[in-house]
Symmetry: C4
Subunit: 236 residues, 4 copies
């Protein structure tokens, strides 16, 4: 069962490995089947290159294992909190990609310094608060998910498809596991450019909100005119 | 029709992908056929690896589609303004290459700090002014092209084959789409070196104009003595 | 004899080459056979790509050659001091990987600035003292090993699987040569993130000890729940 | 004629391309045949991947072409001055590798900050003076060579196998064209580490001369004990 989901999640994890965002086994992608009430996720601590769909672990949204012989990613409870909190998303990715992690470690959100950022995030990349001692010691991964959801109390996860967890690293999401990987790639590129811009000119101000809106809405929403209107234009 | 142009533009876009200057689909190359009054450009939002000549979109210089089933790059109006303003150019490339984009985001032109720069640009890499709110909201891509052309009022686009668009990123051009890709590669390397030089010695002054002239004219113009005098020396 | 050991050490050296941590021939991996009282190590000054198990040099723990036609790495005496001092380790790696070497050259330990670090090192990555003139001039490589062992007088090498040698570069270790290579990859990633975090926010404090403990013990020790409980989960 | 030399120089140029030190066509390698009184060098402005030995240009030490249909590198006069000034060298490489070029552009020599540097250079990487206007305008490439030779008035080119030309970039040399490429790779790695060390700790002092001597003489000279005593240890 869930073959289509396991195949999509497997391919997203392999993309993550090929994109160079996850040295060793430091990253994971998942996808959700809303109708079935289950998510598929990478097994914990295994490499990307040899992953097959059958290796994916399927859990229900309470975390009970439904399919798969391997232990799911230790970050699974974080993913499940986010699937419950953000109803519109279909996939989640966690990495320790270097530049995004530098901002997370420095406890700085990423300001929108240019159109590359505005094409993907409708505003700064937000930062969570640090977890309290009790949250760290008990139910840590679920606490991480809750801190993300709390940070999005007044943010739209569809327009801000990622976050920096303080002292830790980035999570991104999207309509599918593949879209979440693309947002992880985009976030790392955005973080790298922001990092380097701030070295060159530490006082660089965020871009004009009109420019941010223009670029975001060129690519997203009812007035978008970027891209093709079908998903696989080259296979027509 | 326009097979030769579509093939050249397709190959330039594939070069752009292989050069690593355009993660995801963040870049485009075009070429112009001056006699035919048309330009060919990458379709919007599609990857580089699978591009075929038949996927290229051909438009006239007013932007009307002449050939091709796919939507052209959303940056097409910028390219067309430049083809009209800069009569000697044959190809244009837009990327979000990281170091060039850092200077664009910091709103700094790139000073000529060494011979690598002088081999390609006869002076600093210029920066456009930011667009006004009205330009952003209405006819944004054409406005971007106009701001570039305005910046070149007193500059020779043949001698300064690229620009940084404020808050956005670089455009480069050349006698062909392939030459524009080479200038995109060169600009990114120059930007990276300038960025790092300024970290090491923030007060580094531009090079002696005599050195700039020497290096530029070694490679360009009537007295050039760099390279071979035919285009494909190894196939003789 | 020692075929299994030579094969494991050969493969670890080839991993080191593929990981890009050792330009030219600037790095070496070794492994120990505690029962046999011997270590196998890369031959000195040869490239990684063509290494075969038969090229490995086997020495006893006093450094006498037991097998192999080629001179062992000039760093062999350092490795042997560490195998004697740290009884639980099975493999050692030395590199000049760039970011770890920057901290070593600057004589700075690497503070624990995030969970990526805490997943691998239970505390800062320590720095040795510089060697004294007499130690440099006589028995230098053994002196390097002794300075590392001295630095670990009050540290557990199982929980802190690497060190920066002042003015020089990193050594890492693990339960096997392959585990030592993984720790070399992890150390370089951690060093790069710390380096970049300190550029963004020079006063970044180390993470809360509770967060460090949580991440370290998620992956290591009796309460670990990261990964699978068998070594090769995908081959079942 | 000179087949062995042309083959060695061709292979060195291809190594340069594969090492990623020379984007586009920004670098060249040459080798000298002292008995024959000729040097072979890369042709000007052509790519690395398709180079064949027959493409190499052979010139005498006055620069007159002896063999080859293609124009030699425009930097040929610089190479020839160095072959005359430094009698012990067999090959020369010029690149615009990014970190070495940053130091050249900033007009800073590279101090010896660690053992990686000391393994290759017996002291700082020196910097030439800038050329005077007359030298730039007339016989520029020969003037570059003379400025390098002048800088080595009191230095041993065998112990300091490279230099930074002010405002320009690095030249390296060695006993063969291949050795000069290895030194170009080493110089770029050393420059990158020095650049990053100085960001972390701007006041880092050069290493103790005893450590510099120890590392240099481990690898070079009569007391060297690094490496194997024959050139191709793995083919025995």
């Amino acid at each position: 069962m869930y073959e289509h989901l396991k195949q999509a999640v497997c391919e997203a994890n392999r993309m993550l490995g090929r994109a160079g965002l996850a040295p060793l086994t430091w990253g994971n992608a998942s996808g959700v089947d809303r109708a079935g009430g289950v998510a598929a996720i990478k097994p914990s601590g295994v490499g990307y290159a040899d992953l097959e769909p059958a290796h994916m672990t399927v859990v229900d949204l309470d975390g009970a294992r439904v399919e798969g012989a391997l232990n799911p990613s230790s970050d699974t409870p974080t993913h499940l909190v986010l699937y419950r909190a953000f109803e519109g998303i279909g996939g989640i990715v966690h990495t320790h990609s270097p530049y995004a992690t530098m901002f997370a470690q420095a406890c700085r959100e990423i300001p929108c310094l240019g159109t590359t950022h505005a094409d993907v995030f409708r505003g700064p990349v937000p930062l969570t608060r640090g977890l309290r001692a009790g949250e760290i010691e008990s139910d840590y991964e679920r606490g991480t998910g809750r801190a993300i959801a709390e940070r999005f109390a007044n943010l739209d996860p569809a327009a801000v498809p990622g976050v920096l967890v303080a002292h830790h690293g980035p999570f991104t999401w999207g309509v599918s596991a593949a879209a979440a990987v693309e947002n992880a790639v985009a976030l790392e590129a955005i973080a790298r450019m922001a990092w380097g811009t701030l070295r060159l000119a530490p006082d660089t101000a965020p871009v004009d909100p009109a420019l941010l809106e223009k670029h975001y809405t060129r690519k997203h929403g009812a007035r978008a005119y970027y891209g093709q209107r079908n998903e696989e234009p080259l296979s027509e």
